[in-house]
Amino acid sequence: MKICLFHLMPYRFLPDDFETRYRSVWVDVPHSLFNPQKCHLLYNEFLDELEHAERMGFDGLCVNEHHNNAYGLMPSPNLMAAALARRTSRAALVVLGDSLALYNPPLRVAEEFAMLDVISGGRLVAGFPVGTSMDTNFAYGITPTTLRERYYEAHDLVMQAWTRPEVFAFNGKYTQVRYVNIWPQPLQKPHPPVWIPGGGSVETWEWTARLDYVYCYLSYFGYKHGKKTMDGFWEAISRPGADDNPYRAGFLQLVGVSETDAQAERDYGPHVHYFYQKCLNVWEGFAEAPGYRTLRTLQSGARPQVGLAAKQIRQALTWKEYVEQGYIIAGSPGTVREQLSDCVEKLRVGHLMVLLQIGSLPKDLTLKNIELFGKEVLPHLRGVWPAAEDRWWPSGARPTFGGSPG
């Protein structure tokens, strides 16, 4: 199994009464709450934490894109991946990813991903999220009902720009380019592995299977609630005939490792609460613009991960409930090992992504979490799925890889 550290880079300094005083952490969160001096320190702490994860044996480092929010301070994950490309030498750089429909022309993504792949010696995982409604419809003004069409067209353009041998013309509905010819081309051939992060859309599952990509479920409800979604995923992709290779799936889980179960509560309790109550405090109106989800997905009963109903489910949770319901897997190394093995086996996940910097968790505790996870948990999970072949791992990200590109 592959294990990656996922970082959201949240703003750690929201006021204590944030969720009662402000309606939303996303879209219209006032930037009077933002302190650039503090954020200067944050970015550098966060990069230190990601770099430390490589030293602790993590296989990959995940960054992602969000806008107008205090939940994740990475409008450009590519900038963070570029910084990591120079300060790491072995780990996969999993950019999860660039929201294709937000780039005009989307060739910008093809170019920047190719740059990252070349700089890092072929360590890039190319992630293409549709993007949340908050990011795409509200922060970037994309019309909800055209978002997916734009996304699919942009995907086709990027993949063609990476794989077609000739200079070509692209006559799309949203993008027209007479001469498509990107320099540089990616180092990995035919192209970097593609992972699609998602929140449970039926169409995305089928599309992912058809194109033989990895599907990553980024759940805000933890692995116990995520089981139903992942079961739906495995069933949906079996219809177009995809096999059940666990490496087709990625899953994100919050994890907190301490010396003991009791210490885990002391270390992570307040920060998990900060994450669920402040970082996910999204106003109902911004949770999903009308048209963001297709009729089919609405009819499938999929519910938004943020907004009023989600908030009501999460707002009264105690530490005990966060743990029991799987929102976070936390405790001693033994406890975490046992529950995480159960999680990846039940969900059939080959690419596990763990969120170890959670909400307001400060650097010293984050490094402790990374260190304990790397030393006490990670080695025990490596051996899961011994018979499966990971066809979606960047070719330059082998543990032995350390040289400069030839």
Partner: protein, 278 residues
């Protein structure tokens, strides 16, 4: 959460005076479903995001003197083909083709908010088709200093006090009363999302889509009707339309944004006076 009754899904005439009509255009790519009632000169009414189920009272009143047709916008309540329409000009041209398919040459146009924008677009693109144009709190312009309410985004509970002058009025209460069963609630919720998504496609994220460059093409006498307590689309927009139209008058009536539904009689009267003027 309180959700409005499905407004256009079950467009069932309350008094069974209106009958259903389905008209395909563009080889069936777009299919307009709607209701019609009355005899006389043709009068088209274009609906907006919010309304009330059934054949509204003010249309019933208008149908006493006009052949009223109220089509549903593509993607709403059984009208199809919204995915094939790229922008509001495309939509207006589809309505031009719909009129042709019905054999209607010249007609009166009316519309509420989003529907007002559509009526204005049709009148600007096909000026010779339109006898008289009645715009009820129309959308389509943008004033930086007076932003419209984000009515496509607001949850029903927060939209309710903005829509109605008197949120306790029977019409306002009817709008806010959720259906009785959970199943009907879920269906109503999906219908509402689909309805807002379909119209939202043409005005997201700001409804300034070029109408201001086309308004000068309108030649028909135009009536602008506004509720004095319109908290969704402030009356400043009425004044802006008035400045940009050649032959327009602005009438302000007691009422909120949902004027045609909460002040049906006054709205119908204003329209009848205007449409029948020599």
């Amino acid at each position: 959460m309180a959700v409005g009754r499905p407004t256009h899904l079950r467009w069932v005439p309350r008094l069974m005076l209106a009958r259903e009509e389905v008209v395909p255009i563009r080889g069936g790519t777009v299919r307009f479903r709607g209701l019609q009632a009355g005899v006389g000169e043709p009068l088209i009414f274009f609906h907006s995001f919010e309304g009330l189920a059934g054949w509204p009272e003010f249309l019933e009143r208008l149908s006493g003197r006009y052949a009223v047709r109220a089509p549903l916008h593509p993607g709403v309540g059984g009208s199809e083909g919204v995915e094939s329409l790229d922008d509001v000009v495309d939509l207006a041209l589809a309505y031009d083709e719909w009129l042709t398919a019905l054999g209607i040459d010249r007609c009166h146009l009316a519309g509420h908010f989003f529907g007002g924008m559509v009526a204005a677009e049709v009148a600007a693109l096909c000026p010779s088709r339109v006898r008289r144009l009645a715009l009820l709190s129309p959308m389509g312009l943008w004033l930086d200093g007076v932003p419209q309410a984000d009515s496509v985004t607001l949850p029903p509970s927060e939209l309710h006090p903005l829509l109605w002058k008197d949120p306790e009025s029977p019409a306002a209460k009817a709008w806010a009363t959720p259906p009785p069963s959970d199943e009907a609630k879920a269906t109503a919720q999906i219908e509402r999302i689909q309805r807002l998504a379909a119209m939202g496609k043409f005005v997201w994220p700001i409804p300034d889509k070029g109408l201001k460059k086309r308004l000068h093409r309108i030649v028909a006498p135009t009536l602008l009707v506004w509720g004095d307590s319109d908290r969704v689309n402030p009356v400043a927009y009425g004044e802006e339309f008035l400045r940009r139209l050649k032959r327009a008058e602005l009438r302000i009536l007691p009422g909120g944004h949902m004027l045609p539904y909460e002040s049906s009689e006054a709205t119908a009267r204003a329209l009848l006076d205007f449409l029948s003027a020599p």
